[in-house]
Symmetry: C2
Subunit: 207 residues, 2 copies
């Protein structure tokens, strides 16, 4: 089930390190072979070509992240609200991670090549797990009567927008992390508070 051998994982880890340190230009096959103490021929044997290597880096990184499924017992409203806040902080933390930023930059920079295959990989392995986890959480809240919405997708997108705002793109553009981590828990609380005012128990339907 593991798509890569431990040796290949080590090489991919090294590749991620190079990418984070110096961007895409620093990730050359010769440089990776030197840094990882392997041969270029092995790289091409394992990953096909450079694009295959980049794709492998994304799937490998995704394989490292485990999304904790929430245990279904969520009695009090306070617990549920706290779970939402944890999700919000996790989301901000993931998006602000340097490996995530580097891979997103890589995929965005290559979005014109090959029909955005890297972008599709990032969406599938990076964003989709987050979304499914969040949707499960939201529907759990609705089942317990803490939330009120008809369109789960709309509720999720609203939550995402309230939490992330445009900070992700700003970080991708290289904005120094001055306003990025300014009190992440504080920002999470604000976002969750706003979300509850839109989709909380007592909220009215829209339109």
């Amino acid at each position: 089930m593991e798509p890569f051998t431990p040796r290949q994982n080590a090489v991919l880890e090294c590749a991620l390190q190079l990418l984070v340190a110096g961007g895409e230009r620093a990730l050359t096959t010769a440089g990776l072979a030197r840094a990882a103490n392997c041969s270029k021929e092995s790289l091409y044997k394992w990953f096909g070509d450079r694009d295959g290597l980049l794709a492998a880096m994304i799937t490998y990184q995704a394989s490292k992240v485990r999304t904790p499924g929430p245990r279904d017992s969520m009695p009090t409203l306070d617990d549920f609200s706290r779970s939402l806040a944890v999700f919000a902080e996790d989301l901000m933390g993931v998006l602000a991670g340097e490996v995530s930023l580097a891979l997103n930059r890589l995929a965005i920079g290559q979005a014109d090549r090959d029909g955005a295959q890297l972008g599709a990989l990032v969406r599938e392995h990076g964003r989709l797990p987050i979304e499914t986890r969040a949707r499960a959480l939201l529907e759990l809240g609705r089942r317990h009567g803490y939330l009120k919405f008809s369109d789960t997708h709309e509720a999720y997108e609203t939550l995402y927008g309230l939490v992330v705002r445009d900070s992700h793109v700003r970080m991708l553009l290289g904005e120094p992390p001055a306003g990025l981590s300014d009190d992440r828990p504080q920002r999470a609380r604000l976002a969750i508070s706003q979300f509850f005012r839109l989709y909380g128990h007592g909220a009215q339907d829209i339109e």
Copy 2:
């Protein structure tokens, strides 16, 4: 005051076209010289080097966009709400534009080089004008009693998040425009409606 001559503007326009059509790889100095019927020597004379050319493309594109200052007369709440919706639709339209996407991809892809100078240019010439226009609009609404907030920046970021959500990054990653333009006015209305429920006249303070 115009930083470039008409001839140089024409060349930059051609460069943008190349960038949109084929991504960064398609934007070579030789290719641009051929497409724009100019010599490589002129390119280097005008823009210094390739990075100077990229920077010039961003400032040139920014110079094309004029941000309509709202006339200060904004009597009814309905007018103001409509102005917010117009802003929201404009924002979505700009971010979904292929030139904007191409330039953002370019700046993000180069965010590791030279301290993210291109990213800084995009933020300064692309995002800042939008933000100032929106802040003026928001404060106008507050002055007329339609909105209620203490932190303009927070209100603006919330509005941005409600309108854009994560669609910008998804588009940057190359997601096909299936869900992007799905009834843009509808999405704008929803976002503005949500925004009014958070910062509208009768809204309570947060926390």
